[in-house]
């Protein structure tokens, strides 16, 4: 019972944090609409290391995040809602696989770069299919991937730092 309450609290915290980060990021001025840093993905990376959180739990957080954000921003069930859901889902799968294969050998920086590149690839593929019924947008993939590489580096660094601080905090609380 206590474990379920603890997990529920983490669910609520994760959904709130990722939604706030996503919406805050959208308010930042950017030259192109797709140029998001992806700070909300820090939460998903931290959840990868949570022992009680399986892949289905992380997908549930993603779904709730997208629902809340799309309702607030007025893009519920639009093409952008579908593109965001599937591209973030693809990124989470790649990050999960990388985390399980490499375990402690790969930090969040490597995981984040793989996730952001996959996210960008999935966004272009699904966006191209939904809007144009072809895959021609993939012709621009290499330029978008360059941006995804650097944004993934930044996000991964943030996730590393946050994870280390949380670990130190946990050790202090337990003492």
């Amino acid at each position: 019972m206590l474990q379920n309450k603890d997990k529920l609290k983490k669910y609520i915290l994760a959904v709130s944090l990722t939604s706030i980060l996503y919406i805050s990021e959208s308010l930042l001025p950017k030259p192109f609409p797709w140029m998001r840093i992806g700070l909300s993905n820090i939460v998903f990376m931290i959840l990868l290391n949570e022992k009680k959180f399986f892949l289905r739990d992380i997908f549930a957080v993603l779904l709730f995040r997208n629902l809340i954000v799309s309702i607030i921003m007025g893009s519920f069930m639009s093409q952008f809602f579908i593109i965001s859901l599937f591209s973030s889902g693809a990124a989470i799968i790649i990050m999960f696989i990388a985390d399980r294969i490499f375990k402690e050998k790969l930090s969040f920086i490597g995981i984040s770069v793989l996730g952001s590149c996959m996210n960008m690839f999935a966004q272009l593929t699904i966006g191209s299919l939904l809007v144009y019924n072809n895959l021609l947008l993939l012709g621009m993939l290499r330029y978008f991937l360059l941006y995804a590489f650097f944004s993934g580096l930044l996000t991964g660094w943030f996730a590393n730092e946050l994870s280390n601080r949380l670990l130190r905090l946990n050790n202090v609380v337990e003492k």
Binding site: M140, L153, N164
Partner: protein
């Protein structure tokens, strides 16, 4: 504690090398006489030669998209969309380059004239 490891550096180097290689090894040396612009909208696909200067107006989902072809290059001069991302893309002139206006569902792609036209509805003269 999470720290950058050897595997991080290996994966980052590998991914970065692939991205840079794909950008720089895509040089297209053909002249604009060998290229055509293909404009995709929700209702039709039209091909234009880049040799001839033209002003094109396409009806998109949100409004009009004005495309100019000059001296072998093309750009979106104006578009009725909220972000004007397509206008900010500037001029393109190489095969494989494209400009997309997502709100209007319009995309322009430059192809080599020798590429077989896939589903072209019309060739504008």
């Amino acid at each position: 504690m999470k720290k950058s490891t050897f595997w991080d550096k290996l994966i980052l180097t590998f991914v970065f090398a692939i991205i840079i290689a794909s950008i720089f090894f895509n040089a297209d040396k053909s002249s604009y006489l060998d290229k055509k612009a293909i404009i995709y909208s929700k209702t039709k696909v039209i091909s234009y030669n880049l040799e001839d200067d033209k002003d094109i107006e396409i009806e998109g989902l949100k409004g009009k998209v004005n495309i100019k072809i000059r001296n072998g290059g093309l750009w979106v001069a104006a578009a009725e969309c909220p972000d004007k991302t397509c206008v900010k893309c500037g001029q393109i002139s190489e095969a494989g380059q494209s400009i997309a206006c997502l709100p209007n569902g319009v995309m322009v792609l430059i192809e080599n004239s020798s590429d077989s036209g896939s589903i072209i509805d019309d060739v504008a003269k």
